[in-house]
Symmetry: C2
Subunit: 357 residues, 2 copies
């Protein structure tokens, strides 16, 4: 039986980021490491407002792609070369990629070795450095989860450090920080919550509390994405809550059919996670017929474009790659379709599904 760990503490509300300095006051003797999404590099408004002291270090996290083990290892080395005292706080500020990067760095600072040594379940031996997560876009649930997704391009393994030590000690959920998110991206990332919650609820690996989190997160998504303006002040705060609850839900259950197909798109065509999920949703008639209808209502209501036809006419070897990198995700597919999912997801069925997108 799985023992679920919660994020230890959270602050929520407009302007709550202004409490960061107070939160750090009990950790003031050593270096703080700020890992900030590169999205905030050019406009200094956010970084200028942070309580960065002369011995603290600020790094911008390249969120163009999801983190690789290589990227994490290089960043770790940079940090280790530059700090004056051993860090006692890591502050991750950004989207899922940045939040996950901060988790990995925190674990690696106290546990010896490389990022790839900890890809798997419960391999992290010691608690990482105290870490604070501050999301600036809502939907991935990375703020609540016990993993940090990383790809090892040498082995092809995309797997995080699944560990209780990966969970944040403190969150700051400040909806002011999501004001500047581009509209389409806000929708794609927000729908990650809707999608992993619907996958969880349609799967067999769940419990009554993860169901409650999923139901509430989906309800909030409905209120937000079927309203006139998904980015109103109130809706941005609600989506921050939905993202957190969705993260709590998925940390205690599995995803289903969407995420494996989306991972296929990512491997074969380089499609990013959240837009990949939305593209996949358009072809889920056979698996989630009710949800696909609601998905389109939301996209139409918000006037958001979902790219179509990206896997319609591809060379045959691409379909092989798509197929292999989809069906490799046994746990979520078995969660959704049972142990014999391969009988349903034949090569022809998978190919046909990609062509529908």
């Amino acid at each position: 039986m799985k023992n679920s760990k919660n994020v230890l503490k959270y602050l929520i509300g407009k302007g709550s980021i202004n409490n960061l300095s107070e939160l750090l006051s009990s950790h003031k003797q050593n270096t703080h490491i700020y890992l900030v999404d590169i999205f905030f590099k050019d406009n200094g408004t956010l970084t200028n407002s942070l309580p960065i002291r002369s011995n603290d270090l600020l790094f911008f996290v390249d969120s163009t792609d999801e983190p690789s083990t290589n990227y994490i290892n290089n960043l770790l080395e940079n940090i280790q070369n530059q700090y004056t005292t051993f860090p006692n706080a890591i502050i991750g500020i950004g989207g899922g990629t940045t939040l996950d990067t901060a988790k990995a760095i925190s674990n690696l600072l106290t546990n010896e070795g490389k990022a790839e040594d900890y890809q798997g379940w419960d391999l992290v031996k010691k608690a990482g450095v105290y870490k604070i997560g501050i999301p600036t876009i809502s939907g991935t649930g990375a703020e609540a989860s016990r993993t940090c997704v990383m790809t090892n391009y040498k082995t092809g393994l995309k797997l995080g450090m699944n560990s209780d030590h990966t969970i944040y000690d403190q969150l700051i959920l400040d909806p002011n920080l999501t004001k500047t998110v581009p509209r389409n991206q806000y929708f794609y990332t927000g729908m990650d919550t809707y999608i992993h919650c619907l996958e969880s609820l349609n799967g067999s690996h769940r419990h009554a509390l993860s169901d409650a989190f999923s139901h509430q997160a989906i309800q909030l998504c409905r209120e937000i994405f079927l309203s006139e303006d998904m980015m109103s002040d109130e809706n941005r705060e609600k989506l921050m809550v939905a993202s957190y609850l969705g993260g709590c839900a998925i940390a205690n259950s599995f995803v289903g059919v969407v995420h494996p197909f989306s991972a296929g798109l990512s491997v074969a065509l380089g499609t990013h996670h959240c837009i990949g999920n939305c593209i996949t949703m358009t072809a889920m008639e056979a698996f989630y017929p009710k949800e696909i209808e609601e998905f389109w209502k939301m996209a139409d209501k918000q006037g958001v474009d979902i790219p179509r036809g990206i896997a319609k006419n591809l060379p045959e070897e691409k379909y092989n790659t798509l197929y292999n990198s989809t069906v490799i995700h046994e746990k979520p597919l078995a969660n959704a379709l049972g142990q014999h999912f391969a009988d349903i997801l034949t090569f022809e069925k998978v190919k046909e599904t990609f062509k529908l997108m």
Copy 2:
């Protein structure tokens, strides 16, 4: 701005109590203190199944009334006189009273002094002994809250140890344990969740995450108490979840008009908390008109009796006591009715409300 702390870990599901021994395996060198609701004293089924070792101590908690500081102090002295090694785990198994008692004992074992020294906010200096909470009735939310309600009969002060240290390190949410709850009590206690969540949502002191917890807890209460059998396997599990979520909600907001009136009944007439809430609900037409209607639907559907007329014809001095012990609850009343709540809750209005019950 309030920094909210979560329960650290939780196990959920039928039979999850069988994992208690494994949870305690990292604490095996010292004495464990089991505090079990007196409800389980005569029938040994529960206590016989616990992994109690020869040097561990088992005490039955008298849950006839809510804990007094005196009761806690005496229990603490008993424990201190009997343990062979300093306890490193407290296991509270029972309803709100037992769960709260275990929290207080945990804090007092590591912090010197008496229970009454810690009535208030953030007075507990050190972390208490590692504690596991195992609810056997659902609704109070005591498993999730940062307080343990205690009455000091010398000073008349009913106030808990409001502290992050009061929060459980581990919960076991096992719906098998609520099978033996008497039907009426199951309803009264379950409705505590419904009531404190509706009070929270109708108040001014809230945030978006506490709202989400409240909405989901109320939704679950609807599903449970408007169904054919509120005590089905599925519903008992759902109510355990609702209780936990309601506890998380109320830990981040305030109650409203119901709890102060219910506290008045408790002081003036000795009415217990959960049944007192239900009795109060019957007179809340002026404050929660929609909710009172739904409340009656639920009570009727489950065929549960709500005692009527208990404050209809009382001597005048009883109404004085009722009035004083109601309006003393300034925080929740201001949360519900604004700073000038006393202009609304005149003596006549309060008396008339009690007569409606």
